[in-house]
């Protein structure tokens, strides 16, 4: 019976729940869904991780390739992040070129990587102006159930921690490259960004870590990214306005999430060693 009522009047269904300040899946307004992280499971990729935020699943693979650095930044490598929302993860997406949502989120993740400086591009340079690394970071969402950016960022950090770059010696005279697979060095990760998504429901109720139904029904989304409890980026694409203290409240709540993520990462990386 609940199913039909939910599909007939979704918004009313939600309002009844929220009036008793509980959500249909039993969470209170600002509890987060359980997070699962698995790293290094794909050995054809140089670094890989799979993160599961409730039902939302994202796999992140990093492939390193050699390229010539740009003339204007000779000692910098490249980082090329792309989020792919394939038709596999939700009936909303059709096959073919990436949807607008995928493009917006890719650009957001690109900005987060740049602002948080979790990777220093100069570490990717092998020989100035001649040879540098180009890291292709590909996120693929396997199950689209809301707050995809949070899952992507967790997977990003997990994958970056497992990247192993082989040692490359390049002698400029002969312009010959010699890659030695035996000794590989990990990629230094300078900071750990943590992102949290909030949904604004009927302009007043703020739900943390919304599911896809909540995202569809809500009137505004806000993504807050923290870097070791410094604010790194806030993304609020329109929707219902938010007063400043509500915004600060959200930032406080997302601060609570940072230590959780840090020791989740520690445990995940322990067994990978």
């Amino acid at each position: 019976m609940a199913e039909q009522y939910k599909s007939l009047h979704p918004v009313k269904y939600y309002r009844d729940y929220l009036s008793h300040n509980i959500r249909p899946d039993g969470r209170v307004f600002d509890t987060f869904r359980p997070v699962i992280l698995n790293t290094g499971s794909i050995d054809t990729a140089d670094g890989s991780a799979l993160s599961k935020l409730g039902q939302t699943t994202v796999v992140c693979g990093i492939k390193a390739e050699l390229c010539k650095p740009k003339a204007e930044s000779p000692n910098k490598g490249f980082v090329v992040p792309n989020l792919d929302l394939p038709p596999l993860c939700s009936p909303k997406f059709r096959p073919g070129p990436p949807s607008d949502q995928a493009q917006v989120l890719s650009q957001l993740i690109n900005d987060i990587i740049e602002n948080s400086q979790c990777i220093d591009l100069t570490d990717l340079c092998i020989f100035p102006d001649k040879l540098a690394w180009c890291l292709y970071i590909d996120f693929i969402c396997l199950d689209f159930d809301g707050s995809v950016v949070d899952a992507c960022i967790i997977a990003l950090v997990g994958a970056l921690k497992t990247v192993k770059l082989p040692f490359v010696d390049y002698d400029a005279a002969l312009d010959n490259i010699q890659v030695n697979l035996e000794n590989t060095r990990p990629l230094p990760v300078h900071s750990i960004p943590v992102s949290t998504t909030f949904a604004i429901f009927d302009d007043k109720i703020i739900l943390a870590d919304p599911t896809v139904e909540e995202e569809n029904l809500c009137t505004g989304i806000i993504v807050i990214v923290l870097k070791d409890d410094e604010l790194c980026c806030v993304h609020k694409p329109g929707g219902s306005p938010l007063s400043s203290d509500e915004l600060l409240g959200c930032i406080e709540k997302s601060k609570k999430k940072v230590p959780l993520m840090r020791d989740l990462l520690k445990t995940a990386l322990q067994d990978v060693g």
Partner: protein
């Protein structure tokens, strides 16, 4: 390569670093010997032994039916969406349609794959569509189309047959009417060693003919999908160069390999049914 404006593009000409590693100068003779050493392959399997298979249904909450398969390292994810109106079709068609898409993840293979479907992926999509069209009772949903999407997360050989088997499971998990369970197996042959369920290295060896002049320089890959109870071949694809008298024997070995994977699927589906019954039964009790 035309620039893809809808994605973030890196520099044009990037080269995989594997090209610059020191090439291990093993002669073909040497590589062929290493294929099977005293009855054991490099991952200590017998030549006709299939890798262990792990399968799970209901991995994608948003899809009507979904399945995940792990053949040791090869990992494939399939999701099935229930029938919807066929796009831009005017006249009434008595048969339902199947739309299939097979995709390698960019990081799944040795060499990075692009986001757009390349020729090989389009061919695999067509082969998979052919296999599933022979399995699904398409007259049950006239004028509608079922979408099936397969994504290879990690390719360590025989990704296509893993995808077809997982697609069969995902379809039955989604409740699409089917004649029979479908399973698929791959076989690589080089000279006279036959390898069931080859890994990427073995696949690469089987793709190249080692001895040009020698007489029995057979080599190639064969993918076969079977409808088990009706004992029907749903799809057959062979590439390379194999003689006529060897093929029937290869088909029998593949038949047997397909039959061995049936119990895994049945067990998976039974688990799924029990779970749904339990879920609906405790709803009634409460």
């Amino acid at each position: 390569m035309p620039i893809d404006h809808k994605r973030i593009n890196g520099p044009e000409d990037t080269l995989p670093y594997q090209l610059f590693t020191k090439l291990n100068r093993k002669s073909l003779e040497q590589k062929y010997k290493e294929l099977v050493q005293d009855g054991k392959r490099h991952d200590s399997r017998a030549p006709l032994e299939h890798r262990k298979i792990f399968m799970k249904t209901g991995v994608v909450s948003q899809a009507k039916g979904s399945a995940y398969i792990e053949v040791e390292k090869t990992k494939v994810m399939v999701s099935v969406f229930d029938p919807r109106e066929i796009p831009n079709r005017q006249d009434y068609s008595l048969k339902g349609e199947i739309y299939c898409e097979f995709k390698f993840a960019p990081f799944s293979c040795e060499k990075r794959r692009l986001h757009q479907l390349d020729a090989e992926e389009k061919q695999y999509s067509q082969i998979m569509k052919k296999a599933l069209e022979a399995t699904v009772c398409r007259h049950e949903f006239p004028n509608f189309q079922v979408d099936i999407y397969a994504l290879v997360l990690h390719n360590d050989g025989s990704a296509l047959s893993a995808a077809i088997t997982a697609a069969g499971l995902a379809l039955s998990h989604a409740g699409v009417p089917m004649y029979d369970l479908i399973t698929s197996a791959t076989l690589g042959i080089q000279k006279d060693t036959i390898l069931i369920d080859p890994t990427t290295i073995e696949e690469r060896i089987c793709r190249t003919p080692f001895w040009k002049e020698k007489e029995d320089n057979e080599h190639g890959l064969v993918v076969l999908s079977m409808l088990h109870t009706h004992n029907q071949v749903a799809q057959f694809y062979q590439s390379g160069s194999i003689s006529l008298d060897k093929l029937p024997h290869l088909i029998e070995t593949l038949e047997k390999a397909c039959a061995d994977t049936i119990p895994v699927i049945q067990q998976c589906l039974v688990k799924h049914v029990i779970k749904t019954i339990k879920k609906s039964s405790n709803v009634i009790e409460v």
